[in-house]
């Protein structure tokens, strides 16, 4: 009980500090400290309440138990990470985004195909595409190839729609300007329309990072070899070993954030000129 009360007191104190900090000058340091403090508060509150109220670890393990489990099972976690993220998600991500990009460039020359494919692409992007996982597992087998295939299907349409839309972004005046130089199709594509499309292309690439990881993990629910993050989560949930499940979630969260972060960083470098970046 004392634990829980202490945790709640800590929460109140930390929140008061955050309110105080956010009234002050918002510099780079505070922009980091405030959310960091908030995150720490959640962990302390979680630990305090679980320990203080004696909540069973098969319902919610405390963060300390998750950390301990994480530290002792690094080889397994690494093996699952390689299976699901490196083999399944990454390869599918590159194949899916790459082919969507190429298709977008190809249909760019045909207004007819654009008019036809864009509504269909938008439609498919709103569908529960993940449902295709059982079929692809059936076609490509239990190993990572089927996971990569699911990822390809999941990232393909968001990437296609974003790229096609991005390629229409250059305004009329700039296209007229290219015409006064009598630039040919490839010149105006490379010098004007692709650079102008970059913010959209990166939007597609960023959305796809999360989709890739989700696709690779969920596809494992429909069948997998005895390794992989999705496999581990389902089996450990079955054994009520929730500390291992949470450790696996931590890995997924780290991988997901890092993947997204890297794409956001590349975006920052490539589209430094865009108003949202400067």
């Amino acid at each position: 009980m004392i634990w829980a009360i202490a945790a709640i007191l800590f929460w109140i104190g930390a929140w008061a500090l955050n309110v105080y900090l956010s009234r002050g000058k918002i510099n780079r340091r505070n922009k980091f400290i405030i959310p960091f403090l908030f995150g720490v508060t959640i962990l302390v509150l979680w630990e305090g309440i679980v320990v203080g109220l004696g909540i069973s670890p098969i319902i919610l393990p405390p963060p300390s138990a998750v950390a301990a489990k994480f530290a002792t099972s690094i080889p397994i976690l690494w093996q699952d990470f390689v299976q699901t993220f490196v083999k399944g998600a990454l390869s599918g991500y590159f194949i899916g985004c790459g082919s969507a990009f190429i298709l977008a460039i190809l249909i760019d020359r045909s207004p007819f195909l654009q008019r036809g494919l864009l509504p269909v692409g938008n439609f498919v992007a709103a569908l529960p595409v993940i449902g295709i996982a059982p079929i692809l597992v059936m076609w490509f087998g239990f190993d990572w190839h089927s996971k990569a295939a699911v990822v390809v299907v999941m990232v393909f349409f968001p990437m296609l729609v974003n790229t096609v839309q991005g390629l229409t972004q250059s305004d009329h005046m700039q296209r007229d300007l290219m015409k006064t130089y009598s630039a040919n199709y490839w010149q105006s594509l490379l010098k004007l329309r692709l650079p102008a499309a970059m913010p959209f292309i990166f939007n597609g690439l960023k959305i796809s990072t999360t989709l890739a990881l989700i696709g690779a993990i969920v596809a494992e629910f429909f069948g997998s070899p005895i390794k992989g993050m999705g496999f581990r989560i389902t089996t450990e949930v079955g054994r009520l070993a929730l500390d291992m499940v949470w450790a696996e979630i931590v890995v997924a969260a780290l991988a997901g954030s890092a993947f997204y972060g890297i794409m956001a960083l590349i975006e920052k470098i490539v589209t430094f000129w865009h108003p949202s970046q400067r």
Binding site: M173, T180, S182, Q187, K191, P195, A196, W273
Partner: protein, 260 residues
């Protein structure tokens, strides 16, 4: 049609088909622009001044009559890169530096890197932007951006410069300054300039020939050969000759409106 003529239009017509019926944007335009002329097109919106400039540039297709640019069709002239075009907005690419933007047409036209760098320096100096080549457009003021876009149009040394309200979005003080610079630039380069504006003082101050246009249908109401000397300090705007020309332009604009 004298040997000196650069742009020659005869009975030029352009009818747009829109959802609300057809719009007669240009009606029976007859006009000759000679080498070295500074021609302003002035008139209310919808009078076809921009449309006419775009026809010269092969950005619109006329539906009747003939037009020649440097003795060729507009399309041939465009493909021969006969003119530089300056739009109302600078249209500089935000992902390229000022120098990179000026190099854009040069890259497309296949100039060597060495030649590109040389020309960038030349035109930056012409528009008084030397030293700004490494900046990005969004780091410059609106007036500087527009000067950079003029430099871009000058970089490949076309004989004709077509400008569509290039200073329309700028405030009056900046505009005066740029007008002065433009005259100096015209004197140095001896280009033929077509200039669209809706400001009477700007048209009178800059031009050797003022084409007054009126709307519905878009047509020429008056063509005024300016009696002003080639050397024009800003103070000339208070002179008697200047005010007389301005009055004639105003009359031309008004007579166009009487038909409404």
């Amino acid at each position: 049609m004298s040997d000196n003529s650069v742009i020659h239009a005869e009975k030029l017509n352009l009818v747009f088909q829109t959802n609300d019926g057809s719009v007669h944007a240009l009606k029976d335009i007859d006009l000759t622009i000679n080498k070295g002329d500074f021609v302003s097109f002035i008139g209310p919106s919808g009078c076809g001044k921009t449309t006419f400039l775009r026809v010269i540039a092969d950005l619109e297709q006329p539906t009747g009559g003939t037009i020649s640019v440097n003795g060729m069709t507009p399309q041939q002239a465009r493909e021969a890169r006969a003119y530089g075009y300056v739009f109302q907005a600078s249209g500089l690419y935000p992902w390229r530096t000022i120098a990179g933007n000026i190099k854009l047409p040069l890259e497309i036209m296949g100039y060597s890197t060495e030649e590109q760098n040389k020309r960038v320096e030349q035109v930056l100096e012409l528009v008084e932007l030397s030293g700004f080549g490494k900046k990005y457009p969004w780091q410059l003021s609106g007036g500087m951006q527009q000067r950079a876009s003029i430099a871009r149009a000058l970089s490949f040394d076309a004989d004709i410069l077509l400008m569509d309200e290039p200073f329309g979005a700028l405030d009056e003080i900046v505009r005066d300054h740029l007008n002065e610079q433009l005259l100096a630039l015209w004197a140095r380069t001896e280009k033929t300039i077509g200039f669209v504006t809706h400001s009477i003082p700007e048209a009178v101050y800059l031009s050797t020939k003022i084409v007054v246009m009126s709307p519905r249908p878009g047509r020429i109401a008056d063509v005024i050969e300016s009696p002003l000397p080639k050397e024009r300090p800003l103070e000339i705007r208070d002179s008697k000759e200047f005010l007389e020309v301005a009055a004639r332009v105003r009359d031309g604009l008004r007579s166009g409106h009487l038909d409404d």
